[in-house]
Structure formats: C-alpha cells, structure tokens
C-alpha cells in the first residue's frame, strides 16, 4: 500500500515537472508575436494587389467564393481562417509571414515604388488598432474610437511624447501594454475605430486621459477634470 502511494507521488512529480519544463513552447508563442512587425500583414480592411493575390489563390483552392476585388472583407477573412485551420496555422484571419509562406506568396514587396516607397499610415493604424483591442475590447464602438483619439490627442500635447508609438509605449501609461495584451490580434471593429480616429473623429473633443473607476488604482487620476463617460471609461483633461 505504502509503495503504491509512493509510486503515485513520484508519477505526479514527474508529470508536474513535465509541465515545468514545457516552457520552451512559450518561446514559440513569443516568436509568433513578432508577426506584427512583419513588413506587410494583410488583415480585415486591407486592400490592393496583395489581397487580390490571396483571394485568387484561395478561390482556386476552393476556400473562397467571392470576387477577386482586392478588398479584404468578411468573405476573405473567413476564407483565410478556413485555410489557416486546414493547414494547422494560428487561425487569426491575418495573412502574416507564416500564412503567406504557406500560400506560397510574398507580401513583402510593396506595390508603391520610387521616392514614396513604404510611406503610408498602415503602421500607425495597426498599432492603434492593437492598443484599442488591448485596452477597450469590450467597449461600445464609440468607446474604442475615443481610446484611440486619446492616444492621438497625447501626441499633439506638449506634456506627452510626440509620436503614437512614444505615447503607447510610454512606461506605466497603459496597462494593456504592460501585460502584453497589446500584442493580441485586433478584430475588425478595432481596425475600423483606429481608422476613424486617424481620420480625425474625436468623440472626447480633446481629452488626454481615461480610466475605469472600477479598476483604476491611481488616486491622482481623480484630480483630472472629468468630462464624459463612454461605456465603462471616464474621460478627462
């Protein structure tokens, strides 16, 4: 009897240790995260020749049944996800380097050439979308635009860094950055909201702060002037 207990104990420890040692898997995950820095990822809302190539391939392989119009919409999204599931890829509906490789296409070559090569707002747009997704996933649409607008208002304010990335990654500024949630793949709503904010829509009319009264730990934040409540967030200046 005693022996049996002992054996079980050893077995449990071995199993536990296996979990312990399984940490290299995490490195794979982290490596995947860096997809976001890929030269060009295609996602919901992308458009252009690269999207056409993807749609063409998916159409021929019977994943896609829409028209090859070069606009990454709902149908393309679903087709990409089906492709990813079939091929054992992370089914996030984003054509990053690994998915592009599996399709046998090269998305790194940008169609714009000459002196304006690579100049666009896609990088800012995707960074804002990730910020929205990390910070305000469960919020109404307008609350998402508002969070992105606060980031852009900070860029324009002298008291904050002067670039979107500087503001987003400022130490101790956003909890979603500190805990890595910013690296999740943004959904379509987040991308649309980021776009609206970049195009000038500002539901906060110039606010620099927002906080969730249920989770905010800083007392200082309550010394701000409160202006508007959208969803769970209070906005202020």
């Amino acid at each position: 009897m005693k022996k049996k207990v002992f054996k079980i104990l050893v077995l449990t420890l071995v199993v536990l240790n296996m979990f312990y040692f399984s940490y290299p898997q995490k490195t794979v995950e982290t490596a995947n995260r860096f997809n976001i820095f890929a030269p060009r990822s295609l996602y919901w809302g992308s458009s252009g020749q690269d999207v056409k190539t993807v749609q063409d391939k998916l159409l021929r392989w019977k994943y896609y049944d829409g028209s090859v119009d070069g606009i990454y919409g709902a149908r393309t999204y679903r087709a990409v996800r089906r492709f990813q599931q079939k091929n054992g890829l992370n089914a996030d509906g984003v054509v990053g380097p690994s998915t592009a490789q599996a399709m046998g296409i090269n998305t790194t070559s940008s169609s714009s050439a000459g002196s304006t090569q690579g100049v666009n707002r896609n990088a800012d747009e995707y960074l804002l979308a990730r910020t929205i997704h990390g910070e305000a996933r469960g919020e109404p649409y307008i609350g998402k635009v508002a969070v992105a607008a606060v980031v852009l208002n900070r860029v324009k304010s002298p008291s904050f860094p002067n670039t979107p990335a500087g503001v987003v990654y400022q130490p101790l500024a956003f909890t979603a950055v500190a805990d890595g949630q910013i690296n999740l793949t943004p959904n379509k709503d987040a991308i649309n909201a980021a776009r609206d904010a970049l195009n000038g829509w500002d539901p906060t009319n110039g606010c620099l702060y927002y906080w969730n009264p249920a989770t905010a730990t800083s007392k200082w934040i309550w010394s701000r002037k409160v202006t508007l409540k959208i969803g769970k967030h209070w906005f202020g200046i």
Partner: protein, 456 residues
C-alpha cells in the same frame, strides 16, 4: 535495504536537483534581463542630463549673441537638444503625473526655438518680451539641470530606487516606501516649480494658446440637452431614430475646446446594439460629428455617385459651396475631404470629412470639428503678386499639372497662397507660394496608395 527501494528516492532526488538547476537558470536569465533594462534606463538618464545641459548653455549663449545668423545656429541646436531630452524623458520608467510639466517645458522650449528661427529668417528681431521669456527659460533649464545633478549623485547610493526596481514597487502598489529614496520624488520639485511658471507666449503647434483656441465658427446661445437631442433627431431625419440617449457628463465638459452634448441614437431597426453616435455643440447647437458603425454590404455605388451623395448631404445640412478635395477608399465606404470655396479661392481650414457607405449611399460619418474651429467671415485680400511671378519660385524641372488660389492655415493665422500641383522626378508634390510676398510656405508630398491619395 535492497536495491529496489532506492530507485524511487533516487528519481526524486534527481528531479529535485533538476528543478533547482532550472530555477537557478531562470533566476540568472531574469537578472540578465533586469540588468540590460536598467542599463538602458541609465543611458536614457545620462542622455537627458547631457541634452538639458546643452539646452541651458545654448540659451545662455543666445542671450549674449547679437547677430541673427548666430542665433539661428544656436536655436536649431537648442531645438535639437530639447527634443531629444523630451523624447528620452518620455521613455524613462516614471509615471506621467511626475513628469508632465517637465515634458511640456522641454517640448515648448524646442517649439519656441523653432518659432524664433522662423522669425529670424523673416528678418525680425527678438522683442524685449521674448528676451524676458528666453531668460526665464534659461533659468528653468538651469534649475532642472541642478535637480538632475543631485539625482545623479543619489543614483550612486545602492538603496536608491530606480529603473526596474521602481516599476516592480509600483506594481506592488507600495508607493509609500518610495517617497523617501526614489527617482520620481526628486523630479517632483522641478515639476511643481516649472508648472507654476507663466505660459510661454508664441505661435507654434505646441503653444498653449494654440491648444486652447476657441472655435471661431460657433456663435449664439447655449442649447439645452433636450434642444440638442432634437437637433440630433432632425439631423438623422424624421422617424429614423427610435430612441436617443445622452452620455453621462462630468463638470469638466465646458473646458474642452468644443463643449458638446453627445448622444447614442438607436435607429428604428430594432437593433439595440447598433447605435449611431452624434455630438451637438452646446454653443449654437451645431452637429460637430456623427458616426454610424453599421456593417456594410456589397459595393453598389461608383465613386462619382458617392461623391454626389456627399455633396447633396452637405448642401442639405447647410454647408455652402463645398468642394471635394481628396478621398480614401476603404472596405465598403469612401471618405471625402470637403473644403469650402469662396469665389475662386479654396479655403482649406474649413474642412468637413464625410463617410459615404457604398452599398446604399447613406452618409455613415461626418466630422466638422475642424470646420467649426476655423470657419468665420473672411475678408479675402487681393493677391499682391501675380500667379506668373509666383510660378517663378518653382524649380526648373517641376512639371506643373494644376494651379489655383487657396487659403491655408499657418499656426494661428491663415494665409493666401497659390497652390501648384505637379511632378518633380518621380514624386508628386503640392507647393504653396505666399500670394502676398512670394515666400515658399509649404510643400506637401502626395502619396498614392491602394486606398487613395494621402498628403504628407
């Protein structure tokens, strides 16, 4: 004891040793990361100190210098150092409320230098008030530098909480322990002093007056929430909205640049989760922005039809003489930028953005905030130089495709300028030449993307 009895404890001991080894390895890795991060923070701190020293010395020299040429050199160096200091300060592990005024001080020092460079290039001298402001800036820079020197000495103390240790303590919420011996406490002295100083008066993108300017296009009485709700209902059209609900407001609302009443509008389609949003200004009761994030169907409209829908909408909402400028195509909608026109002059500051859904031609978004900030009755002066003379400013090989007279924003002011669109090399540009004095005011590069045209 027989051998069999040794196997189980043996395995256990092996596992234990392996676990300890692994744990030690993890500890090492963690320490390496922390050291690397702390080293980076140290570098940032030393750089900030160097840059602030340069700003301080540069300002002292600028007060002594007498020629404009020398001052331009000095101010460009000050601008560079102040920008770098601000950039690096924003990356340090200190919470925003401890450095907000300090960052503002550095941003404005850079912005102010740029403003003075422009003035010098226009041949204007430093006024006595500006000299006083420069003296104040120099004093502040020197006070800040003094604080940084004390900090530098403190950082040699091993108990001093800085960098990774500070972030860890912040996470634990043990701020009480940090008050005595921490990096951020030392910054607060300068922070509170500099925030008491007077506002820097100048014209630049980061100037207080620029950020606080009141809208020129709104006048009249303040409207009540009920009146605003009615204006919102009228805007969507009679019978379109089932229910309208105001957002909760705080007492700071009236201190925003455009105080508004903001509403959810639930459309008469039975879908509670698909609200539209609309903001009506308190003063004058104008619709400032609207957005309808409904899902979009298959594209049915051509770009021309969409543009017509946008223009018709603007006409109905009382925006007179609007002219489409550039547009962006997205998944299911097109965004138009419309500027107003007076006679043959395009007025860029009066800008309204319109989103047209390409499935039904419905207007799913409008942003008129820039329009109401800038719009006023303008006395457009006659240009002092002819378009032929202005064209001479352009580069020889610039291939012109179109030209017109426009009003463009310049800081707080607006200026009358000739707009020349064309190609140089393989790039497309828009060049603005001041119609009063022939100065080259602005150059924009046109970026053609799959979505449409952007200007940088």
């Amino acid at each position: 004891m027989n051998r069999k009895n040794l196997i189980a404890p043996g395995i256990l001991i092996l596992l234990l040793v392996a676990s300890i080894a692994w744990g030690y390895e993890q500890l090492n890795v963690k320490q390496n990361y922390e050291v690397a991060l702390d080293n980076h923070y140290q570098m940032l701190f030393h750089d900030v100190k160097t840059h602030v020293e340069n700003v301080q010395v540069g300002l002292s020299k600028a007060l002594v210098a007498t020629t404009k040429d020398k001052n331009i050199m000095l101010f460009s160096q000050i601008m560079n150092d102040a920008n770098s200091a601000q950039d690096k300060l924003g990356q340090m592990p200190v919470s925003h409320n401890d450095i907000a005024s300090t960052e503002k001080f550095l941003t404005q020092a850079a912005d102010y230098s740029y403003y003075l460079i422009q003035r010098h290039l226009n041949g204007e001298d430093i006024t006595p008030e500006q000299r006083k402001q420069l003296t104040d800036l120099q004093k502040d820079a020197s006070a800040f530098n003094g604080e940084l020197s004390i900090l530098h000495e403190n950082m040699a103390n091993p108990d001093y909480v800085y960098g990774v240790a500070y972030i860890n303590e912040m996470k634990k919420g043990e701020k009480a322990n940090l008050e005595e011996n921490a990096f951020h406490t030392s910054l607060i002295d300068f922070e509170s002093n500099v925030s008491k100083g007077p506002e820097l008066l100048y014209d630049g993108p980061f100037a207080d007056q620029m950020l606080k300017g009141k809208p020129k296009g709104l006048s009249g009485e303040n409207v009540s929430v009920d009146k605003a709700a009615n204006i919102a209902l009228d805007f969507f059209g009679k019978g379109k909205v089932e229910d309208i609900e105001s957002f909760e407001q705080g007492e700071g609302t009236d201190e925003l640049r455009i105080p508004t009443n903001t509403f959810h509008a639930y459309m008469d389609n039975g879908k509670k989760d698909l609200a539209s949003y609309i903001a009506v200004s308190k003063k004058g009761g104008k619709v400032i922005w609207m957005t309808n994030p409904r899902p979009l169907g298959k594209k049915k409209l051509s770009n021309d039809e969409a543009q017509k829908a946008a223009l018709k909408f603007l006409e109905e909402k009382g925006f007179k003489n609007m002219e489409p400028n550039y547009s962006l195509n997205y998944d299911g909608y097109t965004l138009f930028n419309m500027a107003s026109k007076e006679g043959n002059v395009t007025i860029y500051p009066d800008l309204v953005k319109i989103k047209v859904a390409l499935d039904t031609g419905e207007i799913i978004g409008m942003d008129a905030s820039l329009y109401y900030l800038a719009h006023h009755k303008r006395e457009i002066p006659a240009p002092k130089i002819s378009i032929d003379d202005a064209r001479k400013v352009l580069k020889n090989k610039f291939k012109l495709s179109s030209e017109r007279l426009t009003i463009i924003p310049k800081g707080k002011e607006e200026i009358l300028a000739y707009e020349f669109k064309g190609k140089y090399g393989d790039g497309e540009f828009i060049i603005y030449i001041n119609a009063q004095d022939g100065k080259e005011e602005q150059i924009l590069q046109i970026i053609k993307s799959e979505n449409g045209t952007l200007t940088f």
